[in-house]
């Protein structure tokens, strides 16, 4: 009998601050419910002890400014490490799937980390994906983000990676943090349509949630043929969530899990700590283990209040049609997407809500016919407190061609030389070789 692995790490001794939604109390009632059910005595569920991720695991994904240790606490290392441990157990064949029921969350953490964004410092799923690929030689992995907030951090990290399909289903960015995740953010020129955003209108219910799963997510996965599926299992689409406006239930989440069949699920957001989390976490766990979840019904559940309006349904149908058409089209060739200069550049400002940091960033991705191409970034941040740093970074993709790899070290060397003669414009020069 193949088991479902569980790491439950409620971090009962860690909080962003005393009254912050991301505090000790967040998984207390989930603990109560899961323990009281006796579900941990079920031989189909195997509980693991968390472990720490290493600096290497984090550096493989992020440019932490000025370094990993100043952007993380032990809780971050454990939360990220828990997913890695389940990843190992999955690859070793100990478990058939796994649930990292951990905090703090990570899906708003982008490639460059100047501070905390949307309660996140480092990206648990991205660290997991790069770990599994670097350690075990996986190539194609899909991440399906079902948190109500757009998984902008994960999107950012894999935006130019043709081997990672990132799908985010979330409440429309015009009505909710972080204000992104529209359909036109669909991957860089080298990873065209490897980012799929499904913004849903406020008031979406189980019906809408499941129909996009069946009609966009599942078909997209079927085409992509990932070796692994990872679910960023945020639970704030729940009808009682205080920070969002959706109407999904524990049953809806469980059905989605059952149909999506993720290899690993990692908890993200969800701040209805009493009315949603105990029930949604339980129902996801049961769905992963193949157990009956039909009796996990929230006390607040009133079917007549959770009807989807015809307007909402119409809107969702439009999105489904949009994506079905888009995914059926022939992909344009990569070279033409990069344009005549054969380089992709983007300049943008990123705001860190939690830490009140304003980052200014410029990215460059080079066209390469043989690999995803070199990624370069320069970034500086204005902070409300603490020192401002400027950073120069270059990232060699995991499956880079020898030419690009060689060139990356050359470019890095040149920058370091400039710095050594006092001509450097940046505080830090980072090279990321996955």
């Amino acid at each position: 009998m193949k088991k479902t692995g569980l790491i439950f790490f409620p971090a009962f001794d860690w909080a962003i601050s005393e009254t912050h939604p991301e505090r000790e109390e967040r998984l207390l009632y989930t603990r109560d419910q899961i323990f009281e059910e006796g579900i941990l005595d079920n031989p189909k569920i195997l509980e693991y002890k968390p472990r720490l991720a290493t600096n290497n695991d984090i550096n493989r994904v992020h440019f932490c400014v000025p370094d990993v240790d100043s952007q993380t606490t032990s809780a971050h290392f454990i939360s990220a490490g828990s997913s890695l441990k389940l990843g190992d157990a999955l690859v070793n064949g100990e478990i058939k799937n796994g649930f990292a029921l951990v905090r703090p969350p990570g899906h708003h953490a982008m490639r460059i980390v100047h501070g905390n964004r949307g309660f996140c410092n480092i990206n648990n799923e991205a660290i997991l994906v790069e770990y599994l690929r670097a350690k075990y030689g996986f190539k194609k992995i899909a991440i399906v983000d079902t948190d109500v907030h757009h998984g902008d951090g994960t999107q950012d990290i894999f935006y130019h990676d043709p081997d990672v399909l990132f799908i985010s289903v979330h409440q429309d960015g015009r009505t909710l943090y972080p204000g992104s995740g529209f359909v036109d953010e669909a991957g860089g020129p080298g990873a065209h349509l490897k980012t799929i955003n499904i913004p849903l209108p406020p008031g979406t219910t189980d019906e809408g949630f499941l129909s996009v799963c069946r009609q966009i997510i599942k078909p997209a996965l079927a085409v992509f043929q990932p070796e692994l599926i990872i679910n960023s299992a945020g639970q704030d689409n729940h009808f009682t969530d205080p920070l969002a406006n959706m109407k999904v239930t524990a049953q809806g989440y469980a059905k989605l899990t059952e149909e999506l069949k993720p290899d690993l699920a990692v908890l993200e957001g969800g701040y209805a700590i009493e009315t949603a989390l105990p029930y949604v976490n339980l129902s996801i766990l049961l769905a992963l283990a193949g157990e009956d979840y039909s009796k996990v019904v929230e006390p607040q559940y009133k079917p007549h209040e959770l009807k989807q309006s015809p307007e909402t349904t119409r809107y969702i149908t439009q999105i489904i049609n949009y994506w079905q058409e888009k995914l059926a089209q022939d992909a344009p060739d990569k070279e033409s997407l990069f344009g005549p200069n054969r380089i992709y550049t983007r300049r943008r400002n990123i705001y860190y809500d939690t830490d009140q940091i304003s980052e200014e960033q410029q990215e460059f991705v080079e066209y390469c016919p043989d690999c995803p191409g070199l990624y370069r970034v320069i970034s500086g941040a204005k902070k409300a407190y603490g020192r401002d740093y400027r950073i120069w970074g270059i990232s060699i993709p995991l499956y880079a061609c020898p030419h690009c790899r060689h060139r990356a070290y050359e470019l890095w060397g040149e920058e370091l030389q400039k710095k050594s003669i006092g001509n450097g414009a940046y505080d830090f020069y980072c090279l990321q070789d996955k």
Partner: protein, 568 residues
């Protein structure tokens, strides 16, 4: 003087201990009536040493296991009030169940009122099937027992002849399934257990023994006999605890070690950390039913002294017990015979087994010494694998706090205390192989009785207090209720926990003489309840315990204390 009695399947052992000396040991075949076996053993020990000198008796018995094996499961039913969650039909309940409307949530708030019409229907159905004892189990009843109490009260009024019990009376463990099974099993055995305890009390009274009597618990602690009636399940699986404590009797007080108890067909392994037996992470199972009792973290090898050795498909094969050792007249060669052959056991001389071993080796075209070495290797390899599995499980115990994950790596034992017939031989061979410190304690045949005699009384209290709901609950059955005052901080919560602990320790007769009755704090934590950005209350979790272990390390040499030395 303390008496320890261990009732095993075959023998009932007794030992009397004066301070740090074993004065006398007794071994008799176990009678069908267990109370009678106990009485016989105590009578012999009392006759020589004086009933008036006995100040404590601790009994370890398989009675509960025997009673449960009689499988009177059909006469008990469970009324379940699950509320939202896992489908009860998928859970491993020990007896027939009926689901009733009514639910309490994790904060102890009533979500759905209990439906007494449904209770009535369910009970009528159960009565029709011959069920006359009913346990009631509501999820989160330890946080608020009101629905369980309401159903019990209704049953008492409408069906006075039905025997009932509420799950929160049996245990406060945060595991509904285990509490429900605990309540049902308690109903199944309580009548006979009651009778057993009365028998013991009467026979001791006849012998004019009036000291406190305790039963040994699965976790190696002891429980006063009168409380054993309330918590009968606690004494299940006390055998392995008795053996682990017995193994410690002559060891260093703070030893970290493995205990290996080698029986005829199986070998049990336990871990001792700083003189305290390691408990299982989640709890014990009876058959496949989870129960609200924690026993030792045990691992077993399906190999023992009488494991038979045969040639199969051209290879040496270890198989089940066919009888006792060949050198003692048994039908087949056994592991014990190999030890005799190797000069590692003195129960017989090697000439007794040379012939049979030569024959077996000949049939495989090999030399006898090769066969002997291979048998020992198989045992040692199996032992090594099992130890690895057990250590791994211990090291991988789930952790819910940062400090637990960051705390230093657990240090594995490198010592082994061996009990049982072939203990000397196999222990010595393990020591040679791994360089471990090997100890073979004296009085090994009555180690369990010694363990019982030396066991400390233990108490573990886990307080959960919610200052918004103004209620508290604990891991112990029947201990919980409304909070009289609003606890303001962790210190106040801890003081409150300590006050409950002190009250209980009187009831539980915790020895006053060790650690001054000050329990160790296992954890203390507080959670701010933030509603609309304001603190609306706090939840405190405080864990206190006195760990299990032995009261005194014994002196190994003399049975009789020298004149004048006995009373110091």
């Amino acid at each position: 003087m303390h008496i320890g009695v261990d009732v095993g399947g075959t023998y009932t052992d007794g030992v009397i201990i004066d301070h740090d000396r074993v004065i006398q040991t007794v071994k008799i075949p176990t009678k069908k009536n267990l109370a009678h076996s106990i009485e016989l053993v105590i009578a012999q020990l009392a006759a020589n040493n004086g009933a008036e000198n006995i100040d404590k008796i601790v009994i370890s018995t398989t009675l509960i296991t025997n009673l449960l094996a009689e499988k009177k499961h059909e006469s008990v039913g469970l009324l379940l009030l699950p509320g939202p969650g896992v489908n009860p039909a998928d859970l491993n309940f020990v007896c027939p169940t009926v689901v009733i409307r009514g639910a309490v949530d994790y904060r102890g708030r009533i979500i759905v009122e209990a439906d007494l019409r449904e209770v009535q229907q369910a009970v009528e159905g159960m009565l029709a099937k011959g069920i006359n004892s009913i346990a009631v189990a509501c999820k989160f009843s330890q946080r608020n027992p009101v629905l369980e109490n309401k159903v019990i009260e209704y049953l008492g009024q409408s069906y006075p002849r039905v025997i009932t019990i509420a799950s929160h009376r049996v245990s406060g463990l945060l595991n509904w399934l285990r509490r429900a099974n605990g309540a049902a099993l308690t109903l199944m055995i309580s009548e006979k257990y009651h009778f057993f305890i009365r028998q013991i009390e009467e026979s001791l009274a006849k012998m004019k023994i009036c000291c406190p009597i305790y039963v040994l618990k699965a976790d190696g602690g002891t429980l006063p006999l009168e409380l054993a009636l309330q918590y009968p399940l606690e004494s299940v699986f006390s055998g392995p605890a008795a053996s682990a404590l017995g193994a410690l009797a002559f060891a260093d007080k703070n030893i970290t070690s493995v205990v290996m108890d080698i029986g005829g067909t199986t070998t049990d392994l336990a871990i001792i950390l700083n003189g305290v037996p390691l408990l299982s992470e989640r709890g014990a199972f009876i058959d496949n039913y989870p129960i609200p009792v924690r026993g030792l973290a045990l691992t077993s090898l399906a190999l023992g002294g009488d494991t038979s050795i045969t040639a199969q498909n051209g290879r040496v094969s270890l198989g089940p017990r066919k009888g006792q050792a060949y050198c003692l007249g048994g039908p087949r060669l056994t592991i014990t015979d190999i030890l005799v052959y190797l000069g590692k056991s003195d129960i017989s001389s090697s000439e007794e087994v040379v012939g049979a071993l030569g024959e077996l080796a000949g049939s495989l075209g090999r030399k006898p010494q090769e066969i002997a070495a291979e048998v020992i290797d198989i045992f040692m390899d199996t032992l090594e694998a099992k130890l690895e599995e057990m250590f791994h499980k211990w090291e991988e115990e789930p952790a819910y706090h940062i400090w637990q994950v960051l705390s230093q790596q657990k240090k594995r034992p490198a010592a082994i205390i061996c009990l049982g017939g072939p203990a000397d031989g196999l222990g010595a061979l393990w020591g040679e192989r791994k360089g471990w410190d090997v100890q073979i304690p004296p009085y090994s045949p009555v180690a369990n009785a010694i363990g019982a005699a030396l066991a400390k009384t233990t108490l573990r209290l886990e307080l959960h207090a919610d200052t918004e709901q103004m209620r508290y609950s604990t891991n112990l059955g029947s201990v919980g209720g409304p909070l009289a005052t609003k606890l303001k901080n962790t210190d106040e919560a801890k003081q409150f926990a300590l006050s409950i602990f002190r009250e209980l320790s009187d009831k539980w007769s915790l020895e006053k003489d060790y650690t001054g009755n000050i329990p160790e704090t296992i954890y203390e934590e507080s959670f701010n309840l933030i509603r609309d950005w304001h603190t609306s209350g706090k939840i405190f979790q405080i864990g206190l315990q006195t760990p299990s272990g032995i009261q005194t390390v014994l002196h190994p040499c003399s049975k009789k204390a020298p004149e004048g030395g006995a009373k110091q």
